[in-house]
């Protein structure tokens, strides 16, 4: 397919003004226009899959003398960028019906300007996320990272629910503080290596400040990843963002931090693996804490938000193991959680759209009324609980297979932590299937008797994601094999 990575990232940005001005005329139908660049990016990235093992794609140019910006797709960044663009393309279709309803509720009229702004911000957001995934330069990464925070803040601020302004501000603050800590590390690294290239971070090995740099970058990224202690913004932001945006925020954006850790910090040998007990415990606590918090939620979106936190714990456990399998599993879990959690958010969105209820105690028996939504929900649930034939099984399997790698040669603390980690995955199975039961099974309450299935504009995107997660679950080889061999080469 003709094209380039720059075009894949830039085309959505080029479309921002087009979408905005057309949107003022077309209203909600402008989502079809917004779909064009996203489809282009998705198909272009898909076309790269075949040859990615032997021919990673890199495109570079000089921004300032000495500072080279570039986009680089190899078997590590491609799955991430592809997940982002694919979710972006699918969710933009879903947004049409959902947002028209919520904009109508907000403005009491079909406010075309609100539609136009929404899709413009949406494109901005998705393009920056792709940029983050493909960046080769730390400074460029930081720019895209900030560019990603701003539209997401604006989207929560103007289209969210509840105390949206306050929550959006809180989200912005946390994100920026995280970014600032991260950038401290970046500049310190520059002081030592004299370069902003991600690939030159390896040269830090042996320098006296390597610990400080790694930790500041790690903490900065972990704010975004909402690990335990840094997670407070997440349940608020994800619960109150408009649902299509939650479906992007929750799996795709926070997971980017995990990808960045793999891309930037893992090659700096000896730092993560030396602190295996600490990092693994942090991941484990996040898993357990998020899972326990899910159990006491009554708001269906907050429930999913805490579940995302718990899933980030999974990914972090995989990365923390610093083994080829664990890290590959973590990256695969980005993809599978991306698909699974997006499906869950979209089906929950469909329920909110059709019933107007988001309190789980008032829901029940909906499987009879909304069978397609129920089916998608269960496939999403299977994905995040790691049940075959979904991709979640593959990623969960790899993460914990990797987590057993270090410390297997004696009954050590590492070993015990790994055992606890795998045993605590039962919590995920428990809460997803309990939620399934509370929403979809049991007798139908009288106030839900007239509920109808959501329109195809909402159910088709969900089914597309379900199909992807099952196809990839049955045959992950095309993505997984190159990924494993790349990660293996990173560990030498």
């Amino acid at each position: 397919m003709y094209g380039s990575l720059w075009l894949a990232v830039l085309l959505p940005i080029i479309f921002i003004p087009i979408v905005y001005f057309l949107g003022r005329q077309l209203g909600k139908r402008v989502s079809w226009v917004a779909l064009i660049p996203l489809l282009y990016s998705t198909f272009y990235l898909i076309s790269l899959i075949g040859g990615i093992t032997n021919n990673p794609v890199g495109e570079y140019f000089y921004w300032l003398p000495g500072i080279r910006f570039g986009l680089y797709a190899d078997s590590l960044s491609l799955p991430i960028a592809l997940t982002v663009s694919m979710l972006g393309a699918v969710i933009v279709v879903y947004s049409q019906t959902y947002m028209s309803h919520s904009i109508h509720e907000q403005y009491h009229s079909d406010n075309n300007k609100a539609h136009a702004t929404y899709y413009a911000l949406y494109l901005w957001y998705v393009a920056s996320m792709m940029g983050v995934a493909l960046s080769t330069n730390l400074f460029q990464f930081y720019l895209f990272f900030e560019m990603m925070i701003i539209p997401s803040w604006a989207l929560i601020n103007s289209y969210g629910s509840g105390e949206r302004e306050k929550i959006a501000l809180m989200y912005l603050l946390w994100s920026i503080v995280g970014a600032v800590i991260f950038v401290t590390g970046v500049f310190s690294a520059y002081a030592f290596t004299g370069s902003f290239e991600i690939s030159s971070l390896v040269n830090l090995i042996g320098t006296p400040w390597v610990g400080f740099i790694v930790i500041s970058m790690l903490v900065g990224l972990c704010v975004k990843m909402a690990l335990f202690g840094l997670h407070i913004w997440l349940p608020f932001a994800h619960a109150e963002a408009p649902t299509p945006i939650s479906a992007l925020l929750s799996p795709a954006m926070i997971g980017l931090a995990a990808y960045s850790i793999v891309r930037m910090l893992l090659p700096i040998e000896g730092v993560l693996n030396a602190n295996y007990i600490f990092t693994l415990s942090w991941g484990l606590i996040t898993m357990l804490y998020g899972g326990l918090m899910v159990l006491s939620q009554t708001d269906i979106k907050r429930l999913l938000a805490y579940s995302s936190m718990s899933q980030m714990g999974y990914i972090f456990v995989g990365i923390a193991s610093a083994t080829t399998l664990g890290v590959s599993g973590g990256i695969m879990h980005y993809v599978s959680h991306g698909l699974g959690k997006a499906i869950l958010f979209l089906s929950v969105g469909a329920i909110m759209h059709q019933t107007g209820i988001r309190d789980i105690r008032q829901l029940g028996g909906l499987a009879a009324k909304m069978p397609i939504t129920a089916l998608s929900f269960i496939i999403g649930a299977m994905n995040i609980s790691g049940i075959p034939p979904t991709l979640g099984f593959v990623s969960k399997f790899l993460i914990f297979l990797g987590a057993f790698g270090p410390g297997i040669h004696e009954i050590s603390t590492e070993f015990i932590l790994a055992v606890i980690a795998i045993l605590s995955t039962i919590l995920t199975v428990g809460y997803t299937f309990w939620t399934m039961r509370r929403i979809f099974y049991g007798p139908l309450p009288t106030h839900l008797e007239n509920v109808k299935e959501a329109s195809p504009m909402m159910t088709v995107p969900m089914m597309v994601l379900c199909l992807f997660s099952i196809v990839l679950g049955i045959y992950p080889t095309q993505i997984l094999d190159p990924l494993i061999s790349l990660i293996a080469s990173m560990f030498g």
Partner: protein
């Protein structure tokens, strides 16, 4: 060769599970076209699966043995070994998959009538066919990962089918009668899924440990290289025991053994056809199959490498099996729901199979005898228990109640069902010459071959449980078919509902099962004189061939004639003791069992103990449901809400206030022309607001994060060796 060519070369083992899965996907599509077409389609797909399995029978012959066939590379592991998707066609898998496909086919025929008129048959057929496909995949897979895929697939179908009546209408609830707690079907499905899921995470942990040493998931390779990797593993004391116990976790969950047995009684909330296939004949045997599949590794560890830790595998499963056999049989004595009695009985009988498999490793010479007994009992139990459940389904279909106390005297109205159920019950109770007798006997013989004190204790427990089996068998047969009509039946007839015999499509599949079961029984009898016809010797031969193909070195001991006689003698004693008690209490009704129990000070608490399922169910709910929910709530209320959220809330609230203040001062100040008049004031206000920003925005947030940051630094410096 490309995958298609590989499949075409030996289609049987591939099509056996591919066809039902494709059929499952077809069901909703066919359902859109025509309901009849869909129903016949389901039967047809199950039939094709059966044909594929039968086509594998020639491979039993050693000359045409197939062994491990690999199809595609699923993923390449970092050590360079590919994880390949393949099938292992050896006598063990051929035997089991034929049993599965045969019973599945009969039950799918039964379902067409039993489920007739149900409005959601698309879903039923989808799950049913997907189940058959996953189960056959589980059995045929050549490595642990593929087995796990099938394993989770059957679990998922079991979840969907237990909770099939997800609307939880009152008449579908299980348990009771009040004041005993009742559970809705959707709860039962979820419970089954989560409880078996606990077993699954254990087996995953075990596979992960195993992989770190063995570097492969393939059964044949695991067994072939077991001496090598087991001796590496033995260098870490305790690791083999942990691996073995965790590995057993999966089978314990799936096959409903103590301590994960509590899901199976509730699993009866599904349609009876489902209980018969999934929760009696096939899925619950997956655990038995896996234990048998993995046992050569531990046998080699125990007897070739002389690692005492490897024997933990056999000791644990033997003890668990024997204990579960007793535990469940004791509960079946008091249960009132017909299907629940059968469910307890299933748990108990699987306990026997596990005991047989466990005994196989307790002495060097008992391996083949133990495995044979476990697998033989699996086959014979699959036949008679499926038939029993289907009969129970016919009865429940006809009288519309789940409680045996509401039945009684049905023999007159349902003569065919009565005869079929009676024959299967004789087999369950272990009355010679029925198949259950021969298979249970082979477990006793395995126990006697081992002959260690532990084996003798287990033998005793098994014998007592066998007597209990006979007693509860007499009890339920009498309560359903004999005696007087209950008040419930009379009321039913009063309302114009007549108890009727099951339809042909329902009793013919049962009759076929019973005929096959009787055939096995007869062969068992004839086989005493002509060994070549003996089903036990046939299975023993298959196990021998299987182990030979896997290059397992065996040291069989010859079974003495006296051992057999001893086993027969104990069976006779069991039948005598159990029979007399059962006869007195439940047949002649000379002693009114209810009065006898309630008046007796010792028996009454025992009855309540058994009725409440040894209080295990309540205990589990208390710890794992209420306990964990409460923990989540406490942490949420006390930590998240009281500590974490206020910190963040304060920060956000402050910064919002700042922005508002700034807005009203700067924006309005500038716009409304206050610049001239209040310039100094503005400077002051900007300064003040900026100062607020300092305290509010940055310090709190950053201090908070910095504390964490500092803690990490300290940690890493002290413990990480930076």
């Amino acid at each position: 060769m490309n995958p298609i060519e590989i499949i075409l070369e030996h289609p049987g083992p591939w099509l056996a599970w591919i066809i039902p899965i494709l059929g499952a996907i077809m069901m909703p599509i066919l359902g859109k076209i025509n309901h009849k077409l869909r129903d016949y389609g389901a039967v047809f797909f199950a039939f094709l699966a059966l044909v594929s399995c039968i086509s594998m029978i020639p491979y039993l012959n050693a000359e045409h043995a197939l062994g491990d066939i690999k199809l595609i590379t699923w993923m390449t592991l970092p050590n360079g070994t590919p994880l390949e998707f393949g099938v292992l066609v050896d006598p063990l898998s051929i035997l089991i998959c034929n049993v599965v496909a045969f019973i599945s086919f009969l039950i799918i025929v039964y379902s067409t009538s039993y489920m007739h008129g149900d409005p959601h048959m698309d879903r039923y057929w989808f799950l049913f066919l997907y189940f058959i496909g996953s189960m056959l995949l589980l059995v045929l897979a050549d490595n642990l990962v593929m087995t796990l895929i099938g394993w989770e697939g059957v679990g998922l179908c079991s979840y969907g089918l237990i909770g099939y009546y997800y609307r939880d209408a009152k008449e579908r609830w299980l348990g009771g009668p009040p004041p005993t707690k009742m559970y809705p079907p959707s709860h039962a499905g979820m419970k089954a899924f989560v409880v078996t899921g606990i077993g699954d995470v254990f087996i995953l942990a075990s596979i992960f440990i195993l992989y770190q040493y063995a570097g492969t998931f393939n059964y044949a390779e695991l067994i072939k290289h077991s001496e090598e990797w087991l001796s590496h593993m033995a260098a870490v004391p305790g690791l083999i025991s942990i691996m073995a116990i965790f590995l057993l976790g999966g089978p314990i969950g799936k096959s409903a053994q103590f301590p994960l047995h509590e899901w199976l009684p509730e699993a009866m909330a599904g349609p009876t056809s489902v209980s018969a296939l999934i929760h009696a004949a096939t899925m619950v045997k997956a655990g038995v199959y896996l234990v048998a599949r993995m046992s050569p590794i531990f046998y080699i560890g125990t007897w070739n490498l002389h690692l005492p830790e490897a024997q933990v595998y056999f000791i644990a499963i033997a003890c668990i099996g024997a204990f579960t056999a007793f535990l469940a049989a004791s509960q079946a004595l008091v249960a009132l729901e017909l299907k629940k009695v059968l469910a307890y009985s299933t748990v108990s009988q699987i306990g026997y199979m596990m005991l047989g498999l466990g005994l196989s490793g307790l002495s060097e010479g008992a391996f083949v005898a133990g495995l044979t007994s476990g697998i033989f009992h699996l086959v014979s139990h699959a036949l008679f228990k499926a038939a029993l459940f289907l009969c129970a389904g016919s009865v429940i279909h006809s009288v519309e109640t789940i409680y045996m106390s509401n039945m009684g005297g049905l023999g007159k109205y349902m003569p065919i069902t009565k005869i079929l159920m009676l024959l299967s019950t004789l087999s369950l109770a272990g009355i010679p010459p029925f198949s259950g007798f021969w298979s249970k006997d082979s477990i006793f013989i395995a126990g006697l071959i081992v002959g260690t004190p532990l084996a003798m204790v287990l033998y005793l427990v098994a014998a007592i449980s066998a007597a209990l089996t006979l007693i509860y068998s007499i009890r339920y047969i009498w309560m359903v078919f004999y005696g007087d009509k209950s008040k419930f039946i009379k009321d039913l007839e009063h309302h114009g509902h007549h108890v009727h015999e099951a339809s042909k499509t329902m009793w013919i599949p049962i009759a076929i099962l019973v005929i096959v079961m009787s055939g096995v029984s007869l062969l068992g009898l004839v086989g005493q004189a002509i060994p070549s016809l003996n089903p036990e010797i046939f299975i023993e031969h298959q196990i021998d061939v299987t182990l030979e193909n896997l290059h397992v070195e065996l040291h069989p001991t010859h079974v003495e004639g006296t051992t057999k006689l001893l086993a027969y003698a104990s069976s006779a004693t069991i039948i005598l003791v159990g029979g007399i008690i059962g006869w007195l209490f439940y047949w002649t009704r000379k002693i009114n069992s209810w009065e006898f129990v309630t008046k007796n000070k010792i028996l009454k608490p025992i009855h309540s103990f058994l009725w409440n399922r040894w209080f295990l169910n309540d205990l589990y709910y208390l710890i794992f449901v209420q306990g964990i929910l409460a923990l989540g709530k406490v942490i949420f209320d006390l930590f998240e809400v009281k500590i974490m959220i206020p910190i963040s809330d304060y920060v956000a609230g402050m910064s919002q206030k700042i922005s508002k203040v700034t807005y009203s001062n700067i924006e309005e100040g500038i716009i409304f022309g206050k610049i001239n008049t209040s310039f100094p004031k503005l400077i002051l206000s900007v300064y003040q607001n900026f100062r607020k920003t300092q305290t509010g925005l940055l310090s709190i947030n950053i201090v908070y994060i910095m504390i964490l940051f500092a803690a990490m630094m300290i940690w890493m410096i002290y413990f990480g060796g930076l």
